[in-house]
């Protein structure tokens, strides 16, 4: 019974992730907060619909099952949402305005998304008092006071080994010269358009020189005009990372050690062994020695903070659930297995909990963690594929780790979402057309069967030995990361930088 229920829970969680993917792949606004919340609420609804279908036979329906689901956790790029019941609190003003028989009342128990919780940690050292928000990659946001007590509000990517020559504007990363790349193009329907992706939104150039975006599967004209020609997003990524590093040094952030973190406790595994100790691990977090590599001090610390924040908030949410819960069963946070944490900390995921169902003599208590590897939230190191010849639709695309992958001037790195099928509605009829933004096919031996893929643990070290490939890859990684939506930016000012 336990296994049967585990499978059902896994299936439903997978369905919710699938719904989230299908909803976001066709929406260029899915990274904006209000739109993202709708997508997440839709995914939560899908979860309940799916789980109701899965348990149909045993006489539970969606509303019954809600009582057994203490929380759904959607982990995203720089924080997470918890979907669970809470008490609706209305201020007096609102209460007075409501009709006596209004649907919403004060103190009513409703199920919904709780406020977004960031993966953040506070550090105090001398005069310095900062809160640093981490993300699923090497992007951080800093707010607070620097070593001289001056206010800071800054964000950027952490990269080691970037050089910038202010005289000629040359940027190198790990010894590789990063330049701008040719104009990007992709298909919409059967036609290729030049485009530029700024802050998570793709702007396409039409034949007559006007620009449009795609909103809800329809053309949305009247954008831009933007500069055409070479795309320098990758170049900007490395240049800004270089400048960010200089600023961090001037703030004194680089002197922070993990022991300066406040309000944290050691991270332990299922059996109580300490996995990460904030106090004893007394080393510099931002030492810039291979900071983006998987085993750096920064990455260890970042993962520990993310894990601590999720664990703490989640156990509070689950404990509070007992206030709303049913009957005699006391909800408790199950300890997540190490491999599940591995999944959670590396990509956008959904954790679902199902507790309190009677399974013949015992009470069911289970959880499920499902990764979402097709999303517009984060560009992981694995999300960049290398297309042999970008100008040829019959070309193939490869994983970066394809054995002896040869690249040339026409090779280009492409974000995995751009190989996903998208849809666009006709402007004249109700019909919907499906298309692939890039028509190249996946390589059989590395993408499908993975027989030719080299097994590596550190992609950066691997690429140090493959410099031509590294240039294509780093440019694409930089371009895609830089083009992502960032909360910290002023969207209007940022877009204006690229206008004609």
């Amino acid at each position: 019974m336990q296994i049967e229920y585990d499978t059902k829970l896994d299936n439903s969680t997978y369905d919710a992730i699938k719904a989230f993917q299908l909803n976001t792949v066709n929406s260029s606004t899915s990274d904006l907060t209000n739109s993202k919340m709708r997508d997440i609420e839709a995914a939560a609804n899908s979860f309940f619909t799916s789980i109701a279908t899965a348990f149909n036979m045993t006489g539970y329906n969606s509303d019954n099952l809600k009582e057994y689901v203490p929380a759904l956790v959607f982990t995203l790029y720089d924080g997470f949402y918890i979907y669970s019941p809470f008490e609706n609190t209305l201020d007096e003003d609102t209460q007075n305005k409501l009709a006596p028989n209004a649907t919403y009342t004060n103190g009513e128990e409703i199920t919904g998304l709780k406020p977004y919780i960031y993966y953040s940690c506070r550090y105090v050292k001398g005069q310095m008092d900062v809160t640093i928000t981490y993300s699923l990659d090497n992007y951080i946001t800093i707010q607070g006071y620097d070593q001289n007590g001056k206010g800071i509000n800054d964000a950027g990517y952490l990269l080691d080994d970037v050089t910038y020559n202010s005289a000629n504007g040359n940027v190198t990363y790990r010894g590789i010269n990063i330049t701008s790349e040719p104009q990007l193009t992709e298909y919409i329907g059967n036609k290729q358009y030049a485009y530029i992706k700024i802050n998570g939104v793709k702007y396409y150039r039409d034949d007559d020189g006007s620009w449009f975006t795609i909103l809800n599967g329809r053309k949305n004209p009247g954008q831009g005009p933007f500069r055409t020609g070479n795309n320098d997003m990758g170049y900007r990524y490395y240049k800004e990372a270089y400048e960010f590093k200089q600023r961090l040094q001037s703030y004194g952030i680089t002197n922070l050690t993990s022991a300066d973190a406040v309000d944290v406790a050691d991270v332990t595994d299922k059996d109580g062994n300490v996995i990460y100790s904030f106090l004893n691990g007394n080393y510099k977090i931002f030492d810039f020695d291979g900071i983006e590599e998987p085993d750096s001090n920064f990455n260890d610390h970042r993962l520990a903070v993310i894990r601590y924040v999720i664990e703490r908030n989640l156990s509070i949410a689950l404990a509070n659930y007992n206030n709303y819960g049913i009957g005699s069963y006391e909800f408790r946070m199950p300890k997540l297995a190490e491999e599940d944490w591995g999944k959670l900390l590396n990509n956008v995921s959904l954790i679902s909990f199902l507790q309190g169902l009677s399974i013949g003599g015992r009470i069911y208590n289970g959880y499920s963690v499902i990764n979402n590897n097709k999303n517009e939230e984060v560009v992981t190191e694995n999300a960049i594929y290398i297309v042999e010849n970008i100008n040829d639709d019959n070309s193939t695309y490869h994983r970066v780790t394809h054995e002896n992958l040869a690249v040339n001037a026409n090779s280009r790195g492409v974000f995995n979402m751009d190989f996903e099928r998208k849809s666009i509605g006709s402007t004249t009829s109700e019909e919907t057309y499906y298309y692939y933004p890039h028509k190249q096919l996946g390589c059989y031996t590395c993408y499908v069967a993975q027989t030719a893929a080299v097994g590596i643990s550190n992609i950066y070290e691997y690429l140090d030995d493959h410099r031509d490939l590294a240039k294509v890859y780093y440019t694409a990684l930089g371009r895609e990361r830089y083009s992502m939506y960032k909360v910290f930016r002023n969207p209007e000012e940022h877009v204006n930088q690229f206008k004609q």
Binding site: N11, S12, Y14, D15, K18, A19, L22, N23, N26, S27, T29, S35, R38, E41, A42, A43, A44, N45, S46, T49, S50, T53, A54, N56, M57, N216, G217, S423, T432, Y434
Partner: protein, 179 residues
């Protein structure tokens, strides 16, 4: 006299112990195997529909044949939840293809069978789309040998209870074509 009664009782007991109990155990195992077969076949059938986005009479017949090969008769209940537009939503971002926000209407077994029944030799396909839900549940309708024996000895199982049951369902992940 007393001896012969005891002998008869002993013979009856021995008969039960030697024949009926092994028979019950055997028939129980047979039901377990049937259960496993039915569960596997149901999962396969539903997942096939979910990943191809279409349901044909051939698929259904093959599935029916596979489960009846266990020697029992079954009641197959199918349900398709079709994703529909939600006319009540009036936001600028309303999107008729959004999953989880829009309403569903349901089609049940008899409607589904009508939709895929072949007319004049031409085969029909029920095409589903991304975001629809498909689920199937199967229960045995005959009384299996194990149920009969249990009914006889324990008189616990009622007439309408089933011992073999399987259920599977979930989202359709592909747009099926009608041909």
């Amino acid at each position: 006299m007393g001896d012969s009664i005891i002998t008869i009782v002993a013979i009856v007991l021995a008969a039960i112990l030697m024949f009926v109990f092994p028979l019950m155990t055997m028939s129980d195992r047979t039901d377990d195997i049937s259960q496993l077969t039915v569960q596997t076949a149901t999962t396969e059938f539903v997942d096939n529909v979910r990943t191809t986005g279409k349901l044909t009479l051939d698929d259904y017949a093959a599935f029916e044949q596979k489960i009846t090969a266990t020697g029992n008769s079954y009641d197959i209940e199918m349900e398709v939840k079709v994703l529909d537009e939600n006319p009540g939503k009036k936001t600028t971002q309303a999107n008729s293809t959004k999953i989880g926000e829009n309403v569903y209407y349901s089609m049940y077994t008899s409607q589904i069978l009508d939709a895929i029944a072949s007319t004049n030799g031409s085969k029909k396909v029920l095409a589903l789309k991304e975001g629809d839900m498909f689920s199937t549940s199967v229960k045995n309708t005959n009384t299996t040998l194990s149920q009969q024996l249990k009914n006889f000895f324990y008189t616990v199982a009622g007439n309408d209870t089933y011992t073999i049951a399987a259920q599977h369902g979930g989202y359709v992940t592909a747009n099926g074509s009608g041909d």
